[in-house]
Amino acid sequence: MTAPAGITLTGLCKTFAGQGGSVEALRDVSLNCPPGSFTALIGPSGCGKSTILRAALGLEPLDAGSVLIGGQAPAIATRAGITGVAFQDSALLPWRTVAQNVALPLEVLGRSLGPAQGRIRDLIALVGLKGREDALPGELSGGMRQRVAIARALVSEPRVLFLDEPFGALDQILRRQMNVELQRIWLETGVTTLLVTHGIDEAVFLADRIAIMQAGPGRIVEVLDSPFARPRLPSLFAAPEFHHLCDHIAGVLHGV
């Protein structure tokens, strides 16, 4: 794995014009994610957190502001294969097998698949789907599909990982399991990660730093640290200081 790269967001502004008037999705959003860090972006639905992530990947044009990934513009960084991404929906191609779906980023980047076969198999095993390499997405459960999406996000050996509510559709039990898994993967790879979520406990459990957003217009109101030592164990979910931090974040989210 190559050295992680940082993410620098500076002064992002974005307004959507719709039929029911215009919506100011982002106002002057700035955030710096140092190389190797794990940052969580948390906020209510519709506060623009997914827009930030899409803008960081160059999928959403901005009205103002700049995005740098490892010092490069998104278009250049993504094309160079520096980034990995998993969306809220697994977005698997229904006609491709698990292994073929995991391989998709490599094909888009124009890399040869031959040398990557071993890594693809390892990643599928890493997300706990060993033996299902040739299954079609329609034959998998929602949680399995989401795990395929995580494996796919890692296949290009990214230096920066963008996760847009990747476990949003999963049940609480599976979600916690996936949180623990994701931490293990992050500790192994050391990839700079930006996680968009609306789960407070998920953000506190996984991230070094938590950026809290509010809606109307979408903006970052507070950035705080999650100071717990790594590796964090599932028992952390029950710790009083964990709950204390969660309650604080809930207070900021509700504007108390």
């Binding site: 993504t78 929906d89 229904p94 980023p105 888009v108 599909r145």
Partner: protein, 512 residues
């Protein structure tokens, strides 16, 4: 085993009924012969068939292949470069809307040998497949496209990884509808162009002799060819659809290509068909006596000495053609929608009914018409019935496809709240299939006109179709071209009206 007996019982009953009715000459004094009589006649005629069938097959499969290759390439081009789609719009609509029977005589006049048949078969195939390709390519999963873009993939990468494979079921379903079209086109060209071999020529030769058993034999053979070609692609697309249906419903639609583009694109789009018409006449070096340019047609209809008489004939024909077209169209669409909806409610009914419907529907119109004329006589009933049957088939296919693409989870949501099937349909299936219903309307409008014209040409001796046939007899080349142009323009006008209505309704009901 009991199930199988039950499922074939209706067919057996139908066959027995047919046999009895046919043997006793109960329908229109022997117009409907018994199946055994038809088969016996087929056996007598067996030496005739191979060359006729081969000729039709050659022309229709050559047209099918050529038309589909052009159509898929054009569809990809239109999606990659939306500006080309807007420029070719007029041409596409004209190709789609032109009633093949109206240009069959023109093709026969200007081209030689097998070429008119191949061209007409290809024309019948082109629009269906092109449209299916564009639809398939544009209705991709935007989440998957985002993923490809997130790795720096551009429009081409999205096309390669997401759109093309995702479009295959749509393209196959286009082929499915196009295959009988190719057969129809080839036979129609045989009708209009003379020639010794081909099922159309055989049918035309047998029509005057009043031998119902032979006409039925030819008709059923043509039906079998069309039906088999349909079944082949139906089986293929059923296999593909299973794997490519998205497992979850994407709430966001793919971005629509930017509209507008200025006046000049509209002008190009309008002029292109006329330019092509003129250019082909020049390129093929057609004598001015036979080949009429747009200016010639305009002059004939408005500037020449006989223009008043020509206008009179034309208006009379239009007055006979239009009302019956509208009526048949509405009835055919209503029938298709009803059946498509029923297939959701009562799959077993559909399974029993569909093959019967399919047989009558895949029956190429030109083969069906003489048989219906034998049974129904030469009045308006036959025109109406033909129009309904022409409209029904494509509309049914499209609406059913629309309904079948609604994801399971969405269909099951109302059921989870104890909704009745009717409410479930009203809440989910019907709104979800609305775009396809409109696509079906657009598709079938020109076909309704074609159906009426074929009936008029072969049977009723009224309206535009008859005027065309008469002019052919009088070698009145100006009138042949005029009827062709007017019927194409009429079709285009119908199409545009349906499209504008579609845009309005869809926008109001929240479709992008």
């Amino acid at each position: 085993m009991a199930f199988r007996v039950r499922s074939i019982a209706p067919y057996l009953a139908l066959l027995i009924l047919w046999e009895v009715v046919g043997r006793l000459d109960l329908v229109a004094v022997g117009a409907l012969p018994a199946l055994s009589e038809i088969i016996a006649r087929f056996w007598v005629d067996r030496a005739d068939y191979p060359r006729h069938v081969l000729a039709t097959l050659q022309a229709s499969s050559a047209g099918f292949v050529i038309g589909n290759i052009i159509a898929v390439l054009a569809g990809v081009l239109f999606v990659l470069l939306p500006v080309t789609a807007r420029m070719a719009r007029g041409l596409n609509i004209a190709i789609f809307a032109l009633p093949p029977i109206a240009i069959a005589p023109i093709l026969a006049l200007t081209l030689e040998g097998m070429t008119p048949r191949i061209v007409l078969a290809a024309l019948g195939v082109y629009f269906v497949t092109m449209q299916a390709t564009v639809t398939g390519l544009s209705q991709y999963d935007s989440r998957a496209a985002d993923l490809v873009r997130a790795y720096g993939g551009g429009g081409r990468a999205v096309m390669r990884f997401v759109q093309i494979r995702g479009a295959i079921p749509a393209i196959l379903s286009g082929f499915r509808v196009a295959a009988p079209n190719a057969v129809l086109g080839a036979i129609l060209a045989e009708f209009g162009g003379g020639g010794r071999w081909g099922l159309g020529a055989y049918l035309l030769g047998s029509l005057g002799r009043g031998e119902p058993d032979r006409l039925w034999g030819i008709g059923l053979t043509a039906t079998l060819i069309a039906g088999l070609s349909y079944a082949l692609f139906a089986a293929l697309s059923a296999r593909m659809l299973g794997a490519s249906r998205s497992v979850t419903l994407n709430p966001a639609a793919p971005p629509a290509p930017a509209a507008g583009g200025g006046v000049w694109i509209g002008v190009v789009s309008f002029l292109l068909p006329f330019a092509l018409w003129w250019g082909l006449l020049l390129a093929l070096n057609v004598p001015g006596m036979i080949g009429k340019t747009p200016v010639d047609v305009f002059a004939y209809l408005f500037l020449s000495e006989g223009s008043a008489a020509a206008q009179g004939k034309l208006l009379l024909a239009l007055g006979e053609t239009l009302p019956i077209t509208a009526l048949g169209l509405v009835a055919g669409l209503a029938f298709a929608f009803g059946l498509a909806v029923t297939s959701q409610l009562a799959p077993s009914f559909t399974r029993a009914f569909l093959p019967v419907a399919l047989v009558t529907q895949t029956m190429p119109l030109v083969a069906l018409t003489p048989l219906l004329v034998l049974i129904l006589g030469r009045g308006s009933a036959v025109t109406l019935w033909i129009t309904i049957s022409v409209t029904f088939f494509p509309a049914y296919v499209m609406i059913t496809q629309g309904l079948s693409q609604v994801p399971r989870s969405v269909l099951e949501l109302p059921r989870a709240y104890g909704a009745t099937v009717w409410r479930e349909l009203r809440l989910v299936a019907i709104p979800a299939s609305l775009p396809w219903v409109f696509a079906a309307i657009r598709t079938t409008v020109p076909r309704a006109l074609l159906g009426v014209m074929i009936a008029e040409w072969l049977a009723t001796g009224r309206g535009l179709g008859n005027l065309m046939n008469q002019s052919r007899g009088y070698m009145d080349f100006s009138m042949i071209w005029t009827v062709a142009v007017v019927s194409v323009l009429l079709s285009v006008a119908f199409y545009r009206i349906a499209q504008i209505t579609e845009d309005r309704v869809l926008r109001r009901s929240g479709h992008p």
